[in-house]
């Protein structure tokens, strides 16, 4: 009897995954995009990435020393710093990732209680903070020493874009977002390692494609759809930021719902909004809705529900 009936307290489902391991996997998966960004935009990109990481790690280290609860060794600050830098145009001054890094780590993450308690993705919140504060510098995109519109802005203005360049990444944009191929390689690494699955990115991207297909004014023209897919921060956001464990819903149904919501918001921002891009705002809005999404998709426990428990 005692062999068959094992009595223990929860948790009953265990896994070998650790925070460090997951964060390390995300960092490795971001390397292709980072490498391409540095190759494409030059040493200034590397400099910004390093400043950003040093700032986020330093902020977390200092806060840990002050509050006597050190959490810097979980590598999450490195991921935040890297993601923040990948979300900046290469032309920003050096102090901008510093302000963004301190804001993202200190205000968005640590003041809410550290990793696991933050209500928004710290890197994205920092990017939005910078975008609202310094709109001129944050939308000043350089490529080949020429200031130019991002392909998405050009697309919105009705100009033609070179879709092949966008897929490879030879366009203007933020450091990490330009190359579809590099990001997809990273995403494949994450999926193969089992760190993320396709629920959120898949429903996000499909919803967005449907939305721009219907409302974009170009119908389901493949070139247009690929341009929407490869342009802007969609891939980076869908695979690396919307899937952030802390700020995504934990229920399966909720994850699909979350992805659909993000796709709708991004589509609305891109097609009907004043700017060309809306991935960061969409994900942040989605992050804030996560508690509500979880509430409506919460599964019913065995033995609950039905007529007896209906109010």
């Amino acid at each position: 009897m005692s062999d068959k009936l094992k009595v223990s307290s929860n948790p009953h489902v265990r896994s070998r995954a650790t925070v460090n391991g997951i964060m390390a996997a995300v960092i490795i998966a971001l390397l292709p995009a980072t490498g391409f960004g540095i190759y494409h935009f030059g040493p200034k990109a590397l400099q910004l990435i390093l400043i950003s990481i040093v700032t986020t790690v330093g902020t977390e280290l200092l806060y840990g020393l002050i509050s006597k609860k050190q959490t810097v060794d979980d590598l999450s600050a490195v991921v935040t710093g890297l993601l923040l830098a990948l979300n900046l145009p290469v032309s920003v001054p050096w102090w901008m990732p510093v302000i963004g890094g301190v804001f993202g780590i200190l205000v968005v993450k640590l003041l809410f209680g550290g990793l696991g308690q933050n209500i928004m993705n710290p890197a994205l919140a920092a990017r939005c903070f910078l975008l609202i504060s310094f709109p001129a510098q944050m939308t000043d995109f350089h490529y080949d020493a020429v200031s130019g519109a991002t392909p998405l802005a050009a697309l919105k203005a009705g100009e033609s874009v070179n879709v092949m360049d966008m897929v490879i990444g030879r366009t203007a944009g933020t450091i990490g977002e330009t190359s579809l191929i590099a990001i997809v390689i990273g995403a494949c690494i994450l999926i193969l390692l089992g760190v993320i699955d396709l629920r959120i990115p898949g429903s996000y991207i499909l919803t967005l494609l449907l939305f721009v297909g219907v409302f974009g004014g170009h119908g389901f023209d493949p070139a247009y759809l690929v341009a929407q897919l490869a342009g802007g921060g969609l891939m980076l956001g869908a695979f690396f930021m919307a899937t952030d464990y802390v700020t995504r819903p934990i229920t399966v149904g909720g994850q699909y719902l979350f992805g659909i919501f993000l796709g709708l918001m991004t589509g609305i921002f891109r097609i009907f909004g004043p700017g060309a891009e809306g991935v960061s705002y969409a994900i942040i809005l989605g992050n804030l809705l996560v508690p509500l999404i979880e509430k409506i998709t919460w599964p019913t426990a065995f033995g609950r529900g039905g007529k007896r428990h209906a109010k």
Partner: protein, 287 residues
């Protein structure tokens, strides 16, 4: 401490309406885009607050408690109209900057709150000073918030360039989110100072009322020693309450306000404004 001085201190520090009581958030967040706007809004509110407190206190025996809120509103609205006409006449630019928030002083919860909780149950002179103290506290907080937002968001304070020319303003601070950041930051700062004093075992009762009236979620460690002290001071009242309700004595026997409320809950005389009684009771009890 004399009564008038105590009221001023109470409004400015112990029960600062913005940073401690968290009242009047709407104008606080909306108009503090610059130090000047904060100062203007604060002073305007202070004038209305002081005058309406005085008037309500003078009329407190004449106003039946059933219709006291409409009566308060009429009194407050009269003063707001006067102030608004004066502003339009003499400071049109400030009037324009503050916009709809001047008429909205009528429903400002600080003013209604002080009328309810203090002026309606206290004599005129302390009520006047309560209004001035609360108004000063409001003005002080709004000016601080406005100054920080103006400094970070425009590099200026009161319109004078403070930051070096190379400083790039952080635009978000003059927008709505900036108001929340700065308000939260300043509130945290004053809480930090007060709680640090408590932790070091200092008597902080001069600096904080220290009581959100909710012992369950209270994190103050220095509270018990203060309660003992207050218990000695108001021994008579506490023992009187002991007879009335044991649980009340356990929960907060040193606090006449809480005791009174508990006694009421236990079947004492029904009171229409228990919270107000509590606030006053705390004050009297500390004497």
């Amino acid at each position: 401490m004399n009564k008038a001085g105590e009221r001023l201190w109470n409004g400015l520090v112990r029960e600062n309406p913005t940073l401690v009581l968290m009242l009047g958030m709407c104008p606080t967040l909306a108009v503090t885009t610059s130090a000047m706007n904060g100062l203007g809004m604060g002073l305007t509110t202070m004038v209305v607050l002081a005058l309406s407190n005085l008037m309500i206190s003078l009329l407190r025996k004449a106003i039946p408690s059933r219709v006291r809120i409409p009566a308060f509103i009429v009194i407050i609205a009269s003063f707001v109209t006067v102030v608004q006409l004066l502003l339009e006449g003499y400071l049109p630019s400030l009037n324009k900057a503050l916009g709809v928030y001047i008429p909205l002083i009528v429903v400002n919860c600080i003013i209604l709150g002080r009328a309810e909780s203090y002026a309606y149950t206290n004599p005129p002179i302390p009520s006047l000073f309560d209004g001035i103290g609360m108004g000063l506290g409001f003005t002080f907080s709004l000016t601080c918030i406005g100054a920080v937002r103006e400094l970070l968001g425009m590099g200026e304070v009161f319109g004078y360039r403070v930051m070096p020319e190379s400083y790039v303003p952080i635009g978000i601070f003059v927008l709505a989110p900036g108001a929340f950041f700065v308000l939260a930051g300043l509130t945290a700062l004053q809480n930090y100072i007060k709680i640090r004093g408590e932790r070091k075992g200092r008597d902080m009762s001069r600096f904080q009322s220290g009581c959100g009236q909710d012992c369950m979620s209270c994190g103050l460690s220095g509270c018990s020693s203060r309660m003992e002290k207050a218990a000695k001071a108001s021994g008579a009242k506490a023992s009187e309450a002991k007879a009335g309700n044991d649980r009340a004595t356990v929960a907060g026997g040193s606090r006449p306000g809480r005791v009174e409320r508990a006694v009421m809950a236990a079947g004492g005389k029904a009171n229409e404004i228990p919270d107000i009684q509590f606030v006053n009771g705390t004050k009297e009890g500390k004497k």
